[in-house]
Amino acid sequence: MAAALAAGCAVIALPSAMAQAFPSQPITMIVPWPPGGGSDIAMRLVADAASKRMGQPMVVVNKPGAGGTIGLKEMASSRPDGYTIAMVATGAVFAQYNNPNANALSDFEPIAFFGDDPVVLSIGAKTSIKTLADYVAAAKASPGKLRNGNDQPGGSSHVAASLMERTIGAKINKIAYAGFAPTVQALLSGEIDSATVPAPDISQHHKSGAARSLAIAGAQRHFLLPDVPTFREQGIDFIAGTWRYIAAPRGTPADRLAILEARLLETMRDKGFIEKARAAGFIVEPLNRADTAKRLVAEDAAMYPVFLEAGLVRARQK
């Protein structure tokens, strides 16, 4: 009896002892985007700071391709033991509807939210438009005439431009560029009238007067553009951009998720970390697992109609 009880205790004690030990080996953080981009820089900052708190090195591995699908598939199909995690961004919402090979968001277990990278509506110096009200009026007066620079259909900046069209109730001519640098270049050269790109890509040109940022699609103003009001401040309820969260494969034990969540939140709430990330242009607004999950549901619901309208829903339907 005593022996059986002792054995039983050992069985119960074993998992918790393992949990105590977690993490006992390096953690791989898959960044499904190429090195040097915003996502890569953000996650390298996180990994660098989190390694100290985890007591184990956190190693960033870039697995770019197919709009993040390749890297996320690798994460989702890896052993759910907490040692392989990945960064998931806005594009994953699109991929699950567009690419039959892509994982659904439900294949990932959210750990913690990193923050938002809202888009900024900016205009070139040569246009006669001065304010957001002018812009909306011009768009309504001649639908489809204003040329807006954004990324390809399905990309975060294109989605933002499409959501903006729906919110202001007027069509614009969405011109696709392969990336934000060429978009900004086209805005400065006068090829397009406006652009919807993240704050770090445009703030320098707003300050120099080569372009003018009219409104930012975030909940608050951006520290890089303190003089640019939000859409909400100007009476338009519009929020859009890129966001990033960290996730593990579905089936990762809850106790390990909890440890990862706690360590990552500590890391991202650290003053020194926030300052470092700010210097690199990132807003850090961490959310816990439950709030991240809630946020994802809302984002998914807002974006789906845009994909449907663009004719890009191929894989799963809602």
Binding site: P34, P35, G36, G37, G38, D40, I41, R44, L45, D48, V61, N62, K63, P64, G65, A66, G67, T69, I70, K73, N98, N99, P100, N101, R147, Q152, P153, G154, G155, H158, N173, I175, A176, Y177, A178, A181, P182, V184, Q185, A186, L188, S189, G190, E191, I192, P200, S203, Q204, H205, K207, S208, A210, K276, A279, A280, G281, A310, L312
Partner: protein
């Protein structure tokens, strides 16, 4: 006079920053690393700079930038080494160097080719540094004059000029360009977000990468051809009595270097320009200008000097729009912007006024770095040439291993290795059929850019084709393309080309 004083003052400030022991050391580390990744095929400066980024969190921004920049232009030197020695482009920008550089190596003049490549790069680096110092911001504004229709015209001119690249049949050259453009169609369409020719394979969504294709077409197919033709198992090159270029080599190489430098500066500033397209363009131009174009492909020293000058000038000119406008013209410059932003520095019009020590320190360090590279590389030439005397049965497995490692590291993906293998077999078949791989690669680079800009021009103009003729830049360049095409197709010229080929 004031201008000169100001310039000297700025350069003096740059020297003070660049000559501190720490920054000199970082410059040397960058150049050494760059040479190394340039020599190793496939492992490119982009991946290297990305891997070094976390280290730069702990460096001064100026020092960090000096080191990362050193990796970039250092790789331009290193890339030509394997291109010349074993017909393997270490970087995409050294693809054309393979054509005549490797031909020179086969004639036992590898040392001369390496020396010319290094010296042409030094000249280009010096001139570009001066150009940045004198007119950086003014030059940068040229990039803002270019809109989508103008890029279309540049690409059209480039594709027409590509026909000149081939040294065989005109029809085969055109077929290769078209094939390259077709391969370039694979992937996600920028305008609509549609997937084309991807067959539902994730690894094809972003298109077929340039580097694996270039390494397969040139490097692997070369190995296959070598193994086939090599009955005796000696080394690749014989050692001639001298490693240094002859007086005649210098006479031919000098004007080509000057032209390549100018071309590299102009094209390097434009977005998407980088260092690859200028090197192709320079080769086409040298071949067109040469009195005896038949020497090209047979070890013409101009075909090494021009492109090598152009790619180094292009690499460094890319810093102009990155620093002065805050607009990175290529992936590597985007990485450097990222490195600066980590330190809270936003590249852009104000950077020269607000961070003069960073701007001028970098400019001067680039010149010092170029000098270091030549000092590093010239003594190595003897060593490289000796490497070629190694029995081929030891050399080729090593080359294949390095290729696989390098290509894998591009995206940490096995598919890239598969692409390279397929391209290798395709290259072998094509070369057996007498088709040159260089025009195919140019089609692969220019095709997608041409299509993207063409369709964008039309969506900007609302479907009006006149946009290509209304803009002065595009109209001029398109006229030049038509003239060039007429010249190539003119009965007299064609007749002469064919006659020359039969010789």
């Amino acid at each position: 006079m004031d201008l000169l004083t100001a310039l000297l003052g700025n350069l003096a400030q740059g020297f003070v920053v660049a000559m501190t022991p720490v920054n000199l050391g970082l410059c040397l580390v960058g150049c050494l690393l760059g040479t190394l990744v340039g020599v190793l095929p496939g492992i490119g400066p982009t991946a290297t700079i990305a891997m070094l980024m976390p280290i730069t969190f702990y460096l001064e921004p100026t020092g960090a930038l000096i080191m990362l920049a050193g990796v970039f232009y250092g790789s331009q030197y290193g890339g030509s080494t394997t291109a010349i020695l074993v017909n393997l482009p270490g970087e995409s920008s050294s693809v054309v160097t393979c054509i005549d550089g490797h031909a020179m190596a086969r004639q036992g003049r590898a040392g001369a080719a390496l020396a010319i490549a290094a010296l042409a790069s030094l000249f280009a680096g010096t001139v570009t540094t001066l150009a940045i110092a004198i007119g950086g911001p003014a030059i940068a504004s040229v990039a803002l004059l270019f809109q989508s229709p103008d890029y279309v015209a540049v690409m059209v001119l480039g594709l027409v000029a590509a026909i000149v690249l081939a040294h065989g049949s005109l029809v085969k050259a055109m077929a290769m360009i078209v094939l390259g453009v077709f391969v370039g169609l694979i992937g996600t369409d920028v305008t609509t977000g549609e997937q084309r020719f991807t067959f539902g394979i994730d690894d094809l969504f972003d298109g077929v990468g340039f580097v694996p294709v270039a390494m397969g077409l040139f490097g692997l197919s070369e190995i296959m051809l070598n193994l086939e033709s090599r009955a005796q198992d000696g080394g690749l090159a014989r050692l001639r009595d001298r490693l240094w270029p002859s007086r005649d080599d210098f006479r031919r190489a000098t004007p080509a270097t000057v032209r390549g430098t100018l071309l590299g500066i102009v094209m390097g500033i434009l977005p998407g320009g980088g260092s690859t397209i200028p090197s192709f363009a320079s080769y086409s131009m040298e071949k067109k200008l040469a009195r005896d174009p038949l020497r090209f492909g047979q070890g013409a020293v101009e075909g090494v000097a021009g492109p090598e000058a152009a790619n180094n000038a292009g690499a460094q000119a890319g810093f102009i729009p990155m620093l002065a406008l805050g607009i990175p013209p290529n992936a590597i410059m985007a990485l450097l912007v990222g490195a600066l932003m980590i330190h809270g520095i936003q590249p852009g019009p104000q950077i020269i006024a607000r961070q003069p020590e960073l701007f001028w320190g970098l400019v001067v360090s680039m010149w010092i770095g170029n000098l270091m590279l030549v000092v590093l590389n010239l003594p190595l030439i003897g060593l490289w040439v000796r490497l070629l005397q190694m029995p081929y049965r030891y050399l080729y497995p090593a080359i294949i291993v390095f290729c696989c490692v390098g290509v894998y590291s591009l995206r940490n993906s096995m598919m890239e290795v598969v692409f390279m293998a397929v391209a290798g077999v395709a290259g072998y078949v094509l070369r057996k059929l007498g088709c040159e791989p260089a025009p195919l690669l140019l089609g692969l680079i220019l095709g997608p850019m041409l299509e993207e800009n063409f369709r964008r021009s039309l969506s900007v103009s609302g479907g009006d084709y006149m946009i290509f003729l209304q803009r002065p830049i595009s109209a001029t360049l398109l006229a030049a393309a038509v003239l060039l095409l007429a010249f190539v197709l003119l009965p007299g010229v064609r007749h002469q080309r064919e006659r020359l080929r039969d010789d």
